[in-house]
Every structure is written in structure tokens, then in C-alpha cells.
Symmetry: C2
Subunit: 311 residues, 2 copies
């Protein structure tokens, strides 16, 4: 069984969608709990404009105070040169510099890119060229995200050739890895297998991640298809936090506990402690003040509650 | 792509776990909506003692009034000879006899069988021998269910050899198909693939079904593993109704819409109309008076609500 790398995206992708204001202290406690569980790639925050996403206005403080541990690295989103400036300033202010990769993001579909970052895809490339050139010059690794890789809410089907073309260009610009996102959770396994195979004909496995959403319950089936095609890195979110769920009770991001439950059940190594992951899920629920959609989390908590009643 | 057969279990497995009393009329409306969506194998009710499951006390009336259509067949659970008597009486009373298969059920783990049907596995066989012999003599086909096929809440791991042994004996007794149930939703894909392969070394594909639960989010990944191993029949429940969910918001049965969404996305034929399936899901929510956990259902309803707001 292959070693599988899990990128935890809850602190950024999850918390940026929360209505409730979360104190910086609580965000850092969640990051610490995730690191305690053995997650060593954590998407911590984003230097997007606070006017757009006030939930992450404390990005500089989060970065400056991120826990440092051997082998523990972070990803921080920088939409443009200004975001990169803010990240570099925050890193310069940090008493001991954590390992932080920058991340750039765009969509594989024109309409979604326009709505998400207010630029056409063609207008996005020069921005990325500048960000990547400067970030790499400053010694930062850069991760690339490609949204709507399995379907677009505005355009429907997205041609896999187009996704691979964009992802390959991100790698050519110097991204160490591209994460292909099923932003609206419409993908199914044959489609994932096809996209993964196309991508892996152009890149090494460690250069490709899948970021799957469980909006229609297919996330783990798509993970399985991805693994069968040779993918070894997956993004997920503690408790299924975030990922723009479309309806009350509906899910966005694949929950980290669901992913890890399946991977461990299949004999894959992840370096993650499931018990401690559940503890991080409990903390995540406290932080956002509601029950999260992650199924393995709820099953585990339900089993504990029954055991407590029975004893 | 193989043709996949879906057994809809919501009217029995789902409604038997509901606290709310559901009028017979409403049950029949749900069955009709499911048949309208193209489901042609529907588990309609159970002749278990009304003292145990009062929700299904109207089993005889449901059977007598089931919609008849060419190609449409039902499954009705009969735990013992008395249950079979009641089914045969109900069929005799029906103005035009519907196609109804009887179903018998037991567990692959001793403790679960004892707790579920108050008999040891050894004590269960003579009951089944009588039921099967009489049912087959009356011209009924019989489906066999094996619970806890991927894990037991009391005993933990269940040996796949034991599951196959029990399933094979049910086939030997004359069951036309055995449905292997992941009662508590603990299975993962390699385990499913192993069990399916063992089972298919003893039986033809049309003799084997998988009944998967989505308690930990793995149901569709397990379906994919099952398909890859040669399984062509799956049980599921409209909206994810029933299946003993363990916590508020937690899931039991795999939702039919999630299954069909993935199967159609993969190019499999099912004979099911997804739009009409969503309509049946909406009706199921009205019947039980709450939001159901099926993800594709909620995603679809969310998309419709957004479209309505936007127009």
C-alpha cells in the first residue's frame, strides 16, 4: 500500500466560509490539534483582501504564531503580489520562521475564474508569473490550485485537456504541486481516473493532488479511483468544514476523518492518529459552534455516547 | 459499462426505523413514486411481529395494495413461518397478485443474530429451511440477507469465510440472491473487493448483492470496489432513509440518489430517471417530516433553490 499524503485545508478553506467570528487564538488551537494528530501539511490561512474575506483578516498574526515542529509545513494562499507581500512581511516578523509554502489559485473554467478572482484566465497568468518568480526567489515553494477541475457551476462540463493544460503550466511556472479541485462535488470515478491518468502522463505523482468535495457523496469513491490511477496526495478538511456547502446539512469538502478512516482501513500509511484526529474534529465543532458533516466523526462520537450510556 | 440493478429498501428498512407514524396511504404513495422513477425492485414491508415493529403493522394492507406494473417486483421480509403465512394470506387477498419475493435475514456474527432475531445462527437454519421450502413450494422466489457482513458492533471483525459460508448455504437452500449487508457501515474498499471476490468464486453475479451503509462516508467507494470485483446489484434507500443511523445527522443506508448519481456518471445503465428519483426523495422527506441525509438529494434541492432565487 502506498504512503498517502493528506493536506488539511480546514483552517483556511473551512474557516473562511464561517459566519461566526473565530478568535485567532482558537484558530491556532485548531492548527495545533491538527498537527498533534499527525497532519504535517496544513493550509493555515489566506492573504486575500480582508474586504473580501474578513474571516481571515488576521492572516499575518496566524502566520507569525503558527506552531513550529520538525517536518511540519503550512500552505498559505496568496491571490496576487500584494498577498505575497503580506505573507513575506508576516514571515519576516515571525520570531522563528515556520515552513510555509505559498499557494496560487485559479479555475479551469473561464466563468468561474472571473466570478472567483475577477479576472479572465488570460489575465491571471501574468499575476501568477510575478508571484511565482518572487516567491521562488524568496525561497518559498508554491502550490497551485485548479478549481472546477471536474465541472463548473456555470459552464457544466470542463474538458480534462483544459485542466491538464492549466495544471501543467502551473508546474512549468515552478509550482511544486498542483491540486485539482472538484469545487462543486460533481465528479464521478471514471472521470477522476481519466483526469488523473492524463495528469500523470505529464507529471510525477508527488506533483499532483486531488481536492475532492463530498457534495453528492462521491468523494471517497473518487479518492479510490484516484489512488488506483496513481495519485498519492489528497486534500481534505477536518469534520468536512467549509467547501461552500450548498444547502443546510449538505457537504462541501471531503472530511479528513472519512478520508483517513478509509485509507487506514485499506492499509495505507498516512502518519495520522485517528483518535487524535477525532479530538481535532471535536475542537473544530466547538470552534465553529455547530455539528460538522463529517460522517466518521459523527459515527465515532455516536459510538462513544452509546458506550457511555451503556456503562 | 455493466447494467446495474438497484434494490430500493426505503419503504421497509427506512420506514421501520421512523418514530413518526406513517399512514398506509402515504407508504403506498412513496412506493408508487419510486416505481415511477424506474425502480423495479422495491422492498415494500416486513411481516415481522407488530409487537416488535409497530411501524409495519399494516404489512398485509400494503402488500394487498401494491401497485402492479409489468416488470415491477417487490421484496417482503418474512422472519419465520408465521411471517410467511401472513404474506401468503395477504397475497391471496390481493385482487391481482403482485410479484413479491419473500426475504429471510440473519447475521454473519453470532451476537448480532442473537440480538436481532433472538436465535443463535444454528437455531436459525431450521426456521429458514421451513420458510424456504414452503415459499418455494408456493411459487415465491426468496432473497436472503446476511447482516454484519463487513463488521459487527459486538464482535468487531467478521471473517469473510464465515460470511461466504452462510451466504452459500442460503443459496443452496434455494435463495435466488443473497444481499451482503455492511450493517454498521464499517467496511472499506479492499475488504469489499476481497469479500466480493470470494463470494463470486461460489456464485454467479446475479446471485449476489451488496447492501452498503454510508455511516462513515465509504458507501460509494465500496460500491466502486464491488463493481470492480464484478458485483452488479446494490441495495439503497431513498434519501438515505433508515439503516439505524447512530447519531443525529449521521447516516445509515446508502442513499439511492447518491448511488444512481455515481452510476450514471460512470456510464452504467440502471433504468432509473434521476429527476423522478429526486421527486421521490422530496416525497420521502414529506412522509417522514424531516430532511433526509442523502447528499445528491440535498445538492439537487439546494441548486434548485438557488436557481429559483436567482430568477
Amino acid at each position: 500500500m502506498a504512503r498517502i499524503t493528506v493536506y488539511e485545508v480546514g483552517p483556511r478553506d473551512g474557516l473562511q466560509n464561517e459566519a461566526r467570528e473565530v478568535a485567532t487564538e482558537r484558530k491556532l488551537a485548531l492548527v495545533t490539534a491538527l498537527a498533534d494528530a499527525g497532519l504535517d501539511r496544513i493550509e493555515a490561512t489566506s492573504f486575500v483582501s480582508p474586504r473580501w474575506i474578513p474571516q481571515l483578516a488576521d492572516a499575518a498574526e496566524v502566520v507569525a504564531r503558527l506552531p513550529r515542529r520538525p517536518g511540519l509545513g503550512y500552505v498559505v494562499l496568496v491571490p496576487n503580489a500584494k498577498g505575497l507581500d503580506r505573507l513575506l512581511e508576516a514571515l519576516a516578523r515571525a520570531p522563528e520562521r515556520p515552513r510555509v509554502d505559498a499557494a496560487v489559485f485559479m479555475s479551469a473554467s473561464e466563468t468561474h475564474n472571473q466570478k472567483n478572482i475577477a479576472k479572465s484566465i488570460a489575465e491571471t497568468w501574468p499575476v501568477f508569473e510575478e508571484v511565482l518568480s518572487r516567491a521562488l526567489g524568496e525561497g518559498l515553494a508554491v502550490r497551485g490550485y485548479v478549481s472546477t477541475a471536474l465541472g463548473c457551476p456555470y459552464e457544466g462540463r470542463v474538458a480534462p485537456e483544459r485542466v491538464v493544460e492549466i495544471a501543467a503550466r502551473l508546474l512549468d511556472l515552478g509550482c511544486h504541486q498542483v491540486s485539482l479541485g472538484d469545487t462543486i462535488g460533481v465528479g464521478t470515478p471514471n472521470q477522476v481516473r481519466d483526469l488523473a491518468a492524463r495528469m500523470l502522463s505529464r507529471a510525477r505523482p508527488e506533483q499532483v493532488a486531488l481536492h475532492l468535495h463530498d457534495t453528492r457523496g462521491t468523494a471517497l469513491a473518487n479518492v479510490l479511483a484516484g489512488i488506483e490511477a496513481g495519485i498519492t496526495t489528497f486534500d481534505s478538511s477536518i469534520g468536512g468544514l467549509g467547501g461552500c456547502p450548498y444547502a443546510p446539512g449538505a457537504s462541501g469538502n471531503l472530511a479528513t476523518e472519512d478520508l483517513v478512516y478509509m485509507l487506514h482501513g485499506m492499509g495505507h500509511e498516512t502518519g495520522i492518529d485517528f483518535e487524535k484526529l477525532v479530538a481535532a474534529g471535536v475542537l473544530a465543532q466547538e470552534v465553529v459552534g455547530r455539528t460538522l458533516p463529517g460522517k466518521a466523526l459523527q459515527a465515532e462520537l455516536g459510538a462513544r455516547a452509546r458506550a457511555a450510556r451503556a456503562s
